[in-house]
């Protein structure tokens, strides 16, 4: 069959040689960008599209982008210096005033609807244009995470809004003296979609289509493509068929199953990049018992660390990565991707079913116990299959597993209600290696933004102490040391079981080179001709 697919690809190439202009990149997205207005939504497809047009002060890899640098002048004051000589698509130069304006726009609710950073900017007391090239962020309390959060503050040109001349006074309501912000419709028509990015918006359509053209006066490296066409095809098979048929030059997320065929083809290939999304099991360690978990003696097996250890040891992570992902997944040894900047170095997690059985017997569960294992069916790549593989492994050490896969819509509600004792879950880590553990395992601390989604009901003094120190630490090295301390504790205690890190995969023409991003964004800037 390998021959078949390459023959098909060959036929595709012969049938449709050099479709469209050679300087046009046609990308097939897996899901539709919701809008081009950069503020209301996150989500990979929306962000992917938006980042062609708009840029932020900080790049996704934590390096300066529109900023040339920043400095914590006090634990609550961050001064950001803007890069020189940057202009918007309309020719206006980028100034600190635009940054203040953008912050205002972020806080401005349209139809009462919150924006991407509406809550993340809660600790920001003021945003001040110190001079044309310096912006100062004043915090109510120490908020070192803001550096990471700035990635999501796309910078708009203040010329797009109706507002009085002179300095803009930031306020948390987003009024800022602005008479009228541009509407979503104005963004989508292209009128207000004015950023500093390498491409300009030519057309946007809600069905997930967008056309982009090269920004000739881009400040950075000159964009590779004259035009970029983005189309959305939800069905993976159909998306690949589109690539085979020559409708696309590159598509997102081919299924793992299709990879061998792509490798065999001369005309097509794929690029896989380890992403920052980590997949793991969440275990409710509450000693009072957990939803859907029952032992013959009525005790709470998951509260016993030996049981959790046994479950971890029962799972052959490498087999999952190899068999279900064709090798395109990285075995996890902690909750954050081990290759994420700032993540600690830790040993691999052991696979040892024999020892797992012993541990279970030791904990008094030699005859096993029963769990309902929940997994969202439509959320993670191969999610349902991974859940079944985990079920297989846990079954073999004597745990009776009832696998229940559900659509995300149903799953999410039950998860939030705390009804699920064991479930499959995933977190991306665009904001650093502590992003997941600080929310999922820390005791709740509203002021520090810790433990908001502690579905494990996990509590550890050592871990909490490390996280609380990390939350206010503006020094990067010290902060990373706190993360390492915390991570060691949870990997020992296992209130969840790390499984693997997803790889982001793009299938594309063999004559293209894709320098894929770990944050799951698809960008024309990462694609070049060989």
């Amino acid at each position: 069959m390998k021959q078949t697919i390459s023959a098909l690809a060959m036929a595709a190439m012969l049938a449709l040689p050099g479709v469209a202009g050679a300087d046009t990149l046609r990308m097939g997205f897996a899901s539709a960008p919701r809008t081009i207005d950069p503020y209301p939504f996150g989500g990979a497809p929306t962000a992917s599209l938006k980042e062609h047009v708009f840029e932020a002060l900080v790049a996704s890899d934590d390096s300066p982008l529109l900023a040339s640098g920043w400095e914590w002048t006090s634990p609550t004051t961050l001064d950001v210096t803007l890069r020189d000589g940057i202009t918007f698509h309309n020719g206006e130069p980028l100034t600190a005033r635009d940054v203040v304006y953008s912050a205002c726009r972020m806080m401005h609710l349209i139809d009462g609807k919150r924006n991407l950073l509406t809550s993340s900017m809660g600790p920001i007391a003021d945003v001040v244009a110190v001079d044309d090239h310096t912006v100062r962020f004043e915090m109510k309390a120490p908020y070192p995470l803001w550096v990471q959060k700035m990635k999501f503050l796309s910078i708009l040109s203040a010329s797009g809004a109706e507002l009085p001349d002179g300095p803009i006074q930031y306020d948390s309501e987003g009024d800022c003296g602005v008479t009228a912000y541009p509407t979503i419709a104005e963004f989508e028509s292209g009128e207000a979609a004015i950023g500093t990015g390498p491409y300009k918006l030519a057309r946007f359509d809600k069905s997930g289509e967008a056309d982009l053209v090269r920004n000739d006066s881009y400040w950075g490296e000159a964009p590779e493509w004259d035009e970029v066409e983005i189309r959305t095809i939800g069905n993976a098979g159909a998306r690949l068929a589109g690539l085979l048929a020559g409708d696309f030059d590159l598509i997102e997320n081919p299924t793992t199953e299709d990879l061998p065929g792509l490798t065999a083809s001369d005309e097509l290939t794929y690029t896989a990049v380890p992403s920052w999304r980590s997949i793991f099991l969440v275990l409710d360690v509450d000693p009072e018992g957990a939803g859907g978990v029952s032992a013959p003696d009525g005790s709470a097996p998951l509260a016993d660390p030996r049981v959790r250890q046994a479950m971890s040891m029962a799972i052959n992570r490498q087999a999952i990565a190899d068999r279900l992902f064709g090798g395109e997944a990285t075995v996890a040894n902690q909750f954050s991707p081990k290759y994420r900047t700032g993540a600690p170095e830790l040993p691999e997690l052991e696979y040892n079913p024999e020892k797992a059985k012993e541990l279970l017997a030791e904990a008094g569960y030699g005859d096993g116990f029963t769990i309902d294992f929940y997994a969202p069916s439509d959320r993670y790549a191969n999610g349902a299959r991974v859940a079944q593989a985990v079920t297989q492994y846990l079954s073999r050490i004597g745990i009776t597993v009832n696998l229940k896969t559900q659509p995300w819509s149903v799953f999410a509600g039950q998860r939030s209600a705390g009804e699920l004792g064991v479930f499959l879950y995933g977190w991306g880590h665009p904001q650093g290696p502590a992003q997941m553990i600080s929310f999922a395992f820390a005791s709740r601390d509203k002021d520090l933004g810790l433990g908001a989604s502690n579905y494990s009901n996990y509590q550890s003094d050592a871990f909490d102490a490390a996280m609380q120190a990390w939350a206010v630490e503006t020094d990067e090295a010290k902060a990373n040391a706190h993360i390492a301390d915390a991570m060691k504790v949870v990997v020992e205690d296992l209130p969840g079981i790390p499984l693997y890190y997803q790889h982001t995969i793009w299938a594309h023409r063999a004559d293209l080179e894709v320098n894929g991003r770990p944050d799951e964004r698809t960008s024309a800037t990462t694609v070049s001709r060989k």
Partner: protein
């Protein structure tokens, strides 16, 4: 007549009310939009704020009543997911579904009726037996499987038609249509064919059994006894009579096509309302689901009404009493 229309409207209103309440409550029970929409890093405060924004913090009854109140003002609510007025969202996608459904219906009628009449008239010919077998096969292959096979055949092996998507659209009557340009049309062929196969089978059978039934009616024997030509016999006497059941079924079938479009649109990534519905069910976008339901119900009521009227127009026994 007016009485009849009013009665039908009243019934439809009750129907819509019941359906919307059921789905409203149902979706409330099943999934929590806040849980779905909230980011992983949302704090409790953020969640509460999100619930307030979505209006789902109020008691269910209050939500439903305010929803009804808004509908009476023509406001079907705002999508949780797209953050846009639902009506706008649905109307935007409707043309895609309508054009493919009508195209399928057109193919179904144009192919199915002549084939059925021919089969009915020539019961013993091999062509008839083949047709009969093929319609049974057409019935038996599930819609989604047909779609997959069509993609395999035409898009992957033969490389003659695009596998998915809608292609270029032409703006007409403030909506986008694929029907009016070559690229769009080429994208439409496979989904339309996918939907049409069932329709062809259905129409062939309807026309065949109608023909067989009508052929043995006294008036057909009498018409033959009058000495009129076979051509006239078929065109006037036969077709006029079998059209009556065909119109009825066709009306209902149009509804079914729009519904089945859910499957076809999924297979072919055709951005119509069926796909919107499925996506919205998955993401528990309650306003979209409920609004879709109400609009679809209204559409069916309208179709059924038109069918009744057409039925009366075609059948003088009902027209003149």
């Amino acid at each position: 007549m007016l009485n009849f229309i009013l009665k039908r409207l009243g019934q439809s209103a009750v129907l819509v009310l019941i359906m919307s309440a059921l789905v409203f409550i149902g979706m409330y029970v099943v999934s929590d939009p806040v849980a779905v929409l909230a980011g992983e890093d949302f704090t409790d405060e953020d969640r509460a704020a999100l619930a307030r924004e979505l209006g789902v913090d109020r008691p269910l009854v209050v939500q439903y009543l305010s929803f009804l109140g808004n509908i009476s003002k023509g406001d079907f609510g705002t999508s949780f997911v797209y953050n846009r007025p639902v009506l706008e969202l649905i109307l935007e996608r409707l043309p895609a579904t309508l054009e493919v459904a009508f195209m399928a219906m057109f193919i179904g009628l144009v192919v199915g009726i002549p084939l059925g009449v021919y089969s009915g008239l020539n019961q013993k010919k091999p062509a008839t037996k083949l047709t009969s077998f093929l319609t049974t096969v057409g019935y038996s292959v599930p819609n989604f499987w047909q779609g997959v096979l069509l993609i395999m055949l035409f898009a992957v092996w033969l490389q003659v038609l695009p596998a998915s998507g809608r292609g270029d659209t032409t703006r007409l009557f403030s909506a986008d249509w694929s029907l009016f340009n070559l690229d769009g049309l080429s994208h439409m062929i496979l989904p339309a064919l996918n939907l049409a196969i069932y329709t062809i089978c259905l129409q062939t059978r309807l026309a065949r059994s109608g023909t067989q039934e009508v052929m043995y009616q006294d008036y057909m024997t009498f018409a033959r006894a009058k000495g009129i030509s076979r051509d006239r016999l078929i065109r006037r006497h036969l077709v006029r009579n079998i059209l009556i059941p065909i119109v009825t079924i066709t009306g209902l079938q149009l509804g079914a096509l729009i519904a089945f479009a859910t499957v076809t649109e999924t297979v072919f990534s055709w951005p119509g309302i069926g796909k919107l519905l499925l996506d919205s069910i998955h993401s528990s976008d309650r306003p979209v689901v409920v609004a879709y339901l109400i609009l679809i119900t209204l559409m069916f009521v309208t179709i059924n009404f038109i069918v009744d009227v057409l039925y009366a127009l075609l059948d003088p026994r009902i027209r003149y009493t």
